[in-house]
Amino acid sequence: MPEQLVFAMEVILNGLMAGVLYALVALGFVLIYKASGIFNYAQGVMALFAAMTLVGIMNGQVPFAHLINATFGTHVHDFGWTVPALLAILMTMGVMVLLAWAVQRFVMRHLVGQEPIILFMATIGLAYFLEGVADLMWGSEIKTLDVGLPQGINLWIDESTFNIFGYGFFIDNLDIVATVIAALLVAALVAFSQYTKQGRAMRAVADDHQAALSVGISLNFIWIMVWSVAGFVALVAGIMWGTKSGVQFSLSLIALKALPVLMLGGFTSIPGAIVGGLIIGVGEKLFEFAIGPLVGGATENWFAYVLALIFLVFRPQGLFGEKIIERV
């Protein structure tokens, strides 16, 4: 088999893995959009916030230590204990639920009935706010996150592909774990929205706020729940990306990676987010592999957007989006 083809196959495999991670972030967007019609730009920052909180709790950091020290002249830094990963994850989840409640109580409740674009901009404001709070709470330096996920090259794949093609593929264990977790997460989300009472209520709210209200569904509760679920997805995405590349500001930029995925898949479709993520992941890796060297590299920054843009011109509602019907 020609060498280039084998390389390309490896690139595709890695692209698929990266695509899963994009899809993971995109899922959070889709959930909130479906349930409340809000395009939540803060999803990426929520992932950052979750990851930072997780690291902070695990290391026993004192929240707002920097600010407290500056205001009162004290020198507190950490409690001097460490928390096991699983417990820390649960505690972080608690923080995310609190956050969901606060967002619902202080922001979204006051913006009911506003135009979607106003809501979108409110979430941009929220993103800034959260980013500042996260930095104030836990400090802005780069942190490493280790919750015990396997990392490094997968030797089994390396060996078996070496036997077949004469060239060992480099696949990160973490990516494989991420793929499995993402698949489980999607299955769980689908099951949740199809078979549980709350899930059905959520879909009812997504369909029609007024009608849902009139049959006795509490909008407040559903929205808090949706934001909590989105917070949970953000936490999972934050753990994956944080383990992969360290917990730092650039983590919040994965939101920007997820946007073209959403456009491609359609804002309202969970399978769309998955398929879109895979297409973008493979597409940008392949493009960088094939065309990148010719035009100076780093095409990953914009390729996804341009691909989505071209795609949208032909199909404005995305791959799986609901057909746009317009009336006067």
Binding site: F39, H66, L67, A70, V107, H110, L111, Q114, P116, I117, I118, F120, M121, A122, I124, G125, L126, A127, Y128, F129, L130, E131, G132, V133, D135, L136, S140, L256, L259, P260, L262, M263, F267, V295, G296, G297, A298, T299, N301, W302, Y305, V306, A308, L309, L312, V313, P316, G318, I324, E326, R327, V328
Partner: protein, 358 residues
């Protein structure tokens, strides 16, 4: 008492159509212009020019541009940073290629080139709407920044990949480069701002502006009553990008002098200008000024209060600034979705009746 239209009779069409129909408004406007052109240039020094006035003037131009697109035509754009970069690089290429031509012409041409690029990236808006369009404009943002980073022709093959503004003058007065006097750079930007505001104001209350607003309010209905969406949307993209391009050119050539594209014209810049028009008021020229002034002042005030008075470390101040900006945006959207401009309008209504409110 003093702010009312009683006794201010219009006797001709020209009177009736003027920009500021109320006498007090008009005088206020004359006073502001007189102070800006006649007094400030004599008082200005480098600190005031670089910390407050130049960024304010330049961001105000950018905000006017973005407001035309988002506030008047309803096409949300997140590509402002990219378009500012087009203006900056166009200006740089023109400055280095034609050193003898006046800076005025360079900046205007840079605006024109940006307008063409803007129309190009505006084309998808005919098919894509709402959020999808907002995300699509991000394609412009990332692609343009990448382009200026990677293609050496744009930065004249300089080793650092930066662009540096050479020294250029207008009528013998140095405008760009480190030796430019503060008053000259200030006046240069002020002229552009004044003319931009005048053009924008008159564009938005004429036929073009009305068709933009029709598209914004409901594009299908507008199409049915005979507004050409192709023309309306593309002119909005062109006019908007023109102003944004001018702002980018001034930002690079007059204000910063040296630019590394990813840092200066990144996505943060797009959001900053967007916040300016949200806080200032969508669909209002005055709002563009107010928003730009507010967001230029805010970090300076926070820095003075936090770092200089309270003695906090600068990183805490920087983080607090994020928190405050974020909270302010959310608060504005909740309390007054139409921004500072609406507060001003309400204040004017009150002033009209003052001191007898009934």
């Amino acid at each position: 008492m003093f702010y009312r239209e009683a006794g201010d009779f219009k006797t001709s069409y020209v009177d009736d159509n003027q920009t500021f129909p109320i006498k007090f408004d008009r005088y206020r406007y004359y006073v502001v212009v007189a102070v800006a052109f006649g007094i400030i240039p004599f008082l200005i020094n480098d600190y005031w020019a670089n910390a407050l006035l130049l960024p304010f003037l330049i961001y105000a131009i950018a905000a006017i541009g973005l407001n035309i697109l988002v506030g008047y035509c309803g096409q949300v754009s997140l590509g402002t940073g990219g378009f500012m970069a087009v203006g900056a690089y166009a200006c740089y290429k023109l400055m280095t290629a034609f050193p003898d031509v006046s800076m005025f012409i360079h900046v205007i041409l840079a605006g024109g080139i940006t307008a063409i690029v803007g129309v190009l990236f505006g084309l998808p808006s005919l098919r894509i709407k709402g959020f999808y369009l907002a995300v699509a404009t991000l394609a412009a943002q990332f692609f343009l920044v990448w382009l200026f980073n990677r293609v050496p022709w744009f930065y004249n093959y300089s080793a650092s990949g930066q662009i540096n503004a050479p020294e250029r003058d207008v009528f013998g007065i140095i405008i760009t480069g480190p030796n430019a006097p503060a008053w000259a750079t200030y006046l240069f930007c002020l002229i552009f701002l004044a003319v931009s505001a005048l053009i924008a104001r008159n564009l938005t209350r004429g036929t073009t502006g009305r068709s933009w607003m029709a598209i914004r309010d409901m594009d299908i209905a507008a199409e049915i009553i005979g507004v050409n969406p192709l023309k309306a949307k593309l002119t909005a993209f062109a006019a908007s990008s023109f102003f944004v391009g001018i702002a980018g050119a001034l930002f690079f050539a007059v204000y910063l002098g040296a630019v590394e594209v990813g840092e200066v014209f990144g996505i943060q810049k797009s959001f900053l200008v967007l916040f300016m028009i949200i806080i200032g008021g969508l669909g209002s020229i005055f709002g563009s000024f107010a928003g730009a002034a507010f967001l230029v002042l805010l970090p300076v005030v926070l820095k003075v209060v936090g770092a200089d008075w309270l003695g906090w470390p600068t990183d805490i101040v920087a983080h607090l600034q994020l928190v405050i900006v974020g909270a302010l945006i959310v608060m504005f959207l909740i309390l007054e979705p139409h921004g500072l401009a609406q507060l001003w309008r309400v204040a004017k209504e009150k002033l009209r009746l003052w001191p007898f409110p009934h």
